[in-house]
Structure formats: structure tokens, C-alpha cells
Subunit: 361 residues, 2 copies
């Protein structure tokens, strides 16, 4: 069996062996009226992929093919598709379904639809088929979650924008990042470096907040207006009540002195977390919020409209993701996941050379 | 020594004996150019008073006279006072000083000025004098924190608005409570009942969320559109993602299932705490915020502008605080504090009959 009946992809079969990828046949869901089949050309490697295959986020439907920062070519489109044309270069991110009928969906909050399904690891309610991600030959996705990639963006640089980029971009625009605002980006990894790039592109004064100074030079190259290292003594003191918005991309809550970070916020400033750390949470006290009336919250991906606006902004401003390319293969995936696990990536891996691995059909 | 050299008030001398009030002479700070001396007629009894005298909020400057929901008559005003005239009926709340020069002060966020001082228990930096509250004959207060009481409001009903009312009103208006919005008020005590009254007056659909149904009839009388009792099985399930704003007035975090409350919020809805519970905080997880991208925060009192707007709204809409009156005396204070400690008050005590206790001078 071959496409369009089956796809092929690298799956993890057991979280105990989360670096051992097997090339298996994948059974896609039936081709629907609004579906787009995409021949994949590149895929970013997201921390979600690691949390998922290693079991850090709990039980999953193994065997599983992860990857949700997908760029490829639209091969064919369903009879009711109007948003995508065959042959177009398109992207798919971390979400692949919502009802499109509820209040959330109608308000560009489809991310928060209670029927939302993830690009991989979700069970399609009608067929029981488990969705499979982009470490594979193809994806089949409803047009609403398929995004034309502007001509000015390179495939390998656009791919990580579809999850990491959007995850940073949406809370920036939803919380007013722009001229006259001071934004902090906590954690300079895949999402964090996009937070810096997009916050600057939106016109906000942007500071990076990291544990050490090791990434300061890179941050400055990306346009950071300032850099705080939390290992420095009294690092927060001179900057109290000066930030309007802080996007927290840290993926761990260990030894995290939240109160020190919150003290940076101006009155009613906001701390928005976009990471989903493994393990337990952290203690908060009403006192931590009282000196500035700040707010903490979280943000989950973003809307189709925001994806399109983000890609347009990236093209217009010439935003260049900082990626390291790794040709896709079982060995390449092992390298990528292992290095990601060791925080050894600046700042995102994009898997490439899909045709070499899988052929051109 | 008598007024204006000294005031008289009921002080607690030792938090171990927090119901034993002693009538002592109080030394006021020197009369400043912007100060107003007020002969007190009534004072609300705030949970802060209890937390303070009983040691629940930690070390205090004893002996201490508490009380910060003060209504009285302006006796004399300093040479630079323009906002208050002698003879006016005026109120004083929980804050009595800020610099009035910083960014926060200039943006109607004087509550968050780093130089802010409380009406009682604060040390005046220039003299070392400890500020004393309204269980007393007089207060001396900078005009910015002295508020004319509209003629349509009864003294005993206006008093508790000056802390409890404002504490509820400010986060309502700052977070958009009004027509078309659905607001929840958690906890129906002194602050909570004002939350309900003001949220309704602002035009929002307003629900009360309480542990049991014991206060449901009262809530309905005050205009509540709905009532949820968290002791009921699956109390939150039918109401998920329907609230825009929840004001949390609960003064305890024990057995508090925050995630269940947060599930009530619509996308980017806000949970604003105004209580300051004793003891430790509570654990939050990024997961608790992800299904709706909600925010949690806190609010501290409100601005002068908000006090004046609140009092105007209360007069216009005929808002009646639900108060129980207790004539001020050592015995009356013991009764009030003990009953408050036992949550046995519907919904606020106002201390009255000051002239009977202290005389008319």
C-alpha cells in the first residue's frame, strides 16, 4: 500500500526507547471534503515532540509519529476546499481540528474549542484513528489548519514558526506588544527566540531573561534591547515595575522564583506562560500579586488568522528563524531528540531532505 | 492632653489578647499643609482588622488602633487643602499616603506606589509615628485620601464601602464588568456582597459562588442572577467557559480547588483575588490555564477617582450595604471581632454611636 492509502513515517513504539524511531506505514483518516493532502518537505522539532515520546506528558497512543511544524506541497484538495490550491507550498502546525461552529471557533479562539484535536496523538472521534505527525511522508489536514507560506520565507525557516513561532506571536499580539511597550521573554529556546524576533518586529522594547549570560550575544544579534541573567545577584531589583508583559517560555518550574519575576511587572502587567512543564506546578501567594496587581496566565497556540498575520509579518520584516538543519532519518531524529533533551540547539531543529529519505512521490 | 494634640482610641496591646481593647491616648502625626482632621462618626469592621490584631498577618506595631472604613466630619483643613471643606461629611479608607509624584500615582494607581502607607499600622517615615485607625475619636489624613460622602448615602452604610466596597468595585471596573458580561463573585462576606451589588449596578450578569446554599436567599434579594454552591456535586460542569470575570473574595485557600473555579472562565477570562489569606499559597499548574487561556491576578484597593465614582454610583443606584450596627465600646469591639472571626456577620459590621462613647468634641 502506498499514498494515498497509506503514508510512511518514523514512529516511536515505546517511551522507554524514545530515541529509537521505526519507519512504519501510517493509516490516515479517510479523505474528507475539506481535507488537503500534503507532501511534506520539512518539519521543525518541537519540545512537545520530546515531552510526548519520552512519556513526560503521560500516556500516549503508541506507536506514534510526532512532528507538528510541517511545511510541504499541497497534493490534492477535497471538493469543498476553497482556501488552498494544489501545488501550493503550505504549512500545518500543532492543531488540526476544531468544530468551527462554537462561540470559541467563531471568535478566532478555535484553539480553545472543546473539540480541538492535535496534529499528532489525538483520536479522531468517528474512526478511532490516531493522528500522526510530520516526521512522515504526508499529512491529511482540514483546510482551516493548512496555511499558505509566503514566497519570501524559506521552507526550513518557516517550519518552526508554525508551532514555536505562533506560540510566541499570539500572546504578544493578544496582550498588546507594540510601540511604547516593554516586553520580557523568559527562556531563550525555540519559542523564546521567536518571542524576541516577533516582539521586536511588533515594535516593542524587548528584553531577554535567561539563567546565564551564555546566550546574550545571540540575543543582541536578534535585536534584544536588554538582557537579564537570573544567576546575577539582585538581577531583578533595578528593573522592578518596568515591564508591561512577560512571555514565559521556560519548560521547567524547578528553582523558579516566580515572585522575583513578577516584581518586574508594571501595574496590571501580565506574565503569560506558553510552556507546559512536566511534573508538578508551583506555589503562588496572593502576596506575590499585590504590589503591582499583576496577572499570570497561559496561552495555547493561536488562531488561523494569527498564523497568517505572523507569516505576513515575518515576510515583510525579513524575520529569520535561527535553525539548525538535520536531514530526516532514524539516525537524524535520534540526534535531534537527544540534543534537544540536552538543551543543545540554537535555536530550533528543522528536519529536511524529505525527498532524499522518502522519494519524491 | 486633648484634641488636637492627642486623639483617643481603642487599641490592642498584644495579639494574644486580640479581643481586649484598651481606650488609650493616641499621638497623631504633626498637622500638615494638606491634612484634614476628621471627627469620626462611624467605622466599618474589616477582616484586615482581625488579621492584623490577631497576628495572622505577622508582626505589627502594638499597641495598635485598627479600623479603616471611616466616616466622620471634617473639623479643620490644612492651608493647602482644596478638596475638602470644614464641616463636610467625609470618608477615609485603608490607604492614607503615597508620593503622588511617581508614574503609578500619576496614572491613578496610587495604591501601587512603593511609598504607599496604610491608614493604620504604618510607620510615618519622617516622625516614626505609627498610623492609628478609626476605632478612635479622630483621624488626620492627607486630603487625597479624604472623600466627600454624597448626601444620599447613610453614614453607617457608606463606611464599609471605603475599604470593602472599593476592594470589590475597582477590579470590576478595571476588568470590564458591565452590560453583556457575566461576573462571578466567590465568597459572600463583606467584600463579596459589595461585589454583587456593584457588579449588578454596573450592568453585568452576576452570579454568587459560595460553599453552601445558606446565603442564596440573601444573594437573590441583592439581585444575583444565579448562585452556585461548591459543595454540590459537579457544581462547575454546566457552567464551564461561561464567565468573563470572577472576583475571588475568599479569605482562605484551604481545600480550594482552583482548577474547578478557573474552568468557569471563558477564553482569556480573569480570576482576580482581593482577599489576602493567612498562611501559605496554593499550587498552580500551567495546565489549569490551558483550556481557556485564563488569567489570575490580584487587586489592591483602588484609586481616589474610583472611590468617588463608586460613591456616586452607589447614590445614583440607591445601593444599600447590608450592615449590622454595633455601638463602639471595648465590649462592642470584642463582640464584633469575635463574631467576625466566627464568620457570623451579614454582611458587615459598622461601629456607631461615637459621640455617645467619646463625646461630641
Amino acid at each position: 500500500m502506498v499514498y494515498p492509502d497509506t503514508f510512511k513515517g518514523f514512529q516511536i513504539e515505546d517511551p522507554k526507547h524514545w530515541t529509537e524511531f521505526k519507519l512504519n506505514e501510517l493509516k490516515p483518516k479517510p479523505f474528507g471534503d475539506y481535507d488537503v493532502d500534503i507532501k511534506i518537505q520539512a518539519c521543525g522539532v518541537c519540545a512537545s515532540d520530546l515531552h510526548t515520546v519520552s512519556g513526560g506528558w503521560g500516556e500516549q497512543h503508541f506507536p506514534l509519529c510526532v512532528g507538528h511544524e510541517i511545511v510541504g506541497t499541497a497534493l490534492r484538495v477535497g471538493p469543498k476546499v476553497t482556501l488552498i490550491k494544489p501545488g501550493e507550498r503550505v504549512g500545518v502546525g500543532a492543531q488540526s481540528y476544531s468544530c468551527l461552529k462554537c462561540k470559541q471557533c467563531k471568535n478566532d479562539n478555535e484553539t480553545y474549542c472543546v473539540h480541538q484535536l492535535d496534529t499528532y496523538g489525538a483520536v479522531w472521534p468517528d474512526t478511532g484513528i490516531v493522528s500522526q505527525g510530520g516526521y512522515s511522508t504526508h499529512v491529511r489536514t482540514h483546510e482551516h489548519w493548512v496555511f499558505p507560506i509566503p514566497a519570501g520565507l524559506a521552507t526550513n525557516k518557516a517550519a518552526p514558526m508554525l508551532c514555536a513561532g505562533l506560540t510566541a506571536y499570539s500572546p504578544l499580539v493578544r496582550n498588546g506588544a507594540g510601540p511604547g511597550k516593554k516586553v520580557g521573554i523568559v527562556g531563550m529556546g525555540g519559542i523564546g527566540h521567536f518571542g524576541l524576533l516577533f516582539s521586536k518586529a511588533l515594535g516593542a522594547e524587548t528584553w531577554v531573561i535567561s539563567r546565564t549570560h551564555s546566550k546574550e550575544a545571540d540575543a543582541k544579534k536578534m535585536g534584544a534591547d536588554g538582557f537579564l541573567a537570573t544567576a546575577d545577584k539582585d538581577w531583578n531589583v533595578p528593573h522592578k515595575m518596568t515591564f508591561d508583559l512577560i512571555i514565559n517560555t521556560a519548560s521547567s518550574t524547578e528553582n523558579f522564583d516566580l515572585a522575583a519575576y513578577l516584581s518586574l511587572l508594571d501595574v496590571h502587567g501580565r506574565w503569560i506562560s506558553v510552556g507546559l512543564p512536566e511534573g508538578s506546578g508551583q506555589e503562588v501567594k496572593a502576596q506575590d500579586f499585590l504590589s503591582n496587581g499583576c496577572l499570570i496566565g497561559a496561552s495555547h497556540l493561536g488562531s488561523r488568522k494569527e498564523v497568517l498575520a505572523m507569516l505576513k509579518l515575518a515576510e515583510e520584516k525579513g524575520i529569520e528563524s535561527w535553525v539548525e538543519e538535520i536531514p530526516i532519518s532514524a539516525e537524524g531524529l535520534k540526534t535531534a531528540l537527544t540534543r534537544l533533551h540536552n538543551n543543545n540547539v540554537r535555536y530550533r531543529f528543522t528536519l529536511t531532505d524529505y525527498d532524499k529519505c522518502f522519494g519524491t512521490e
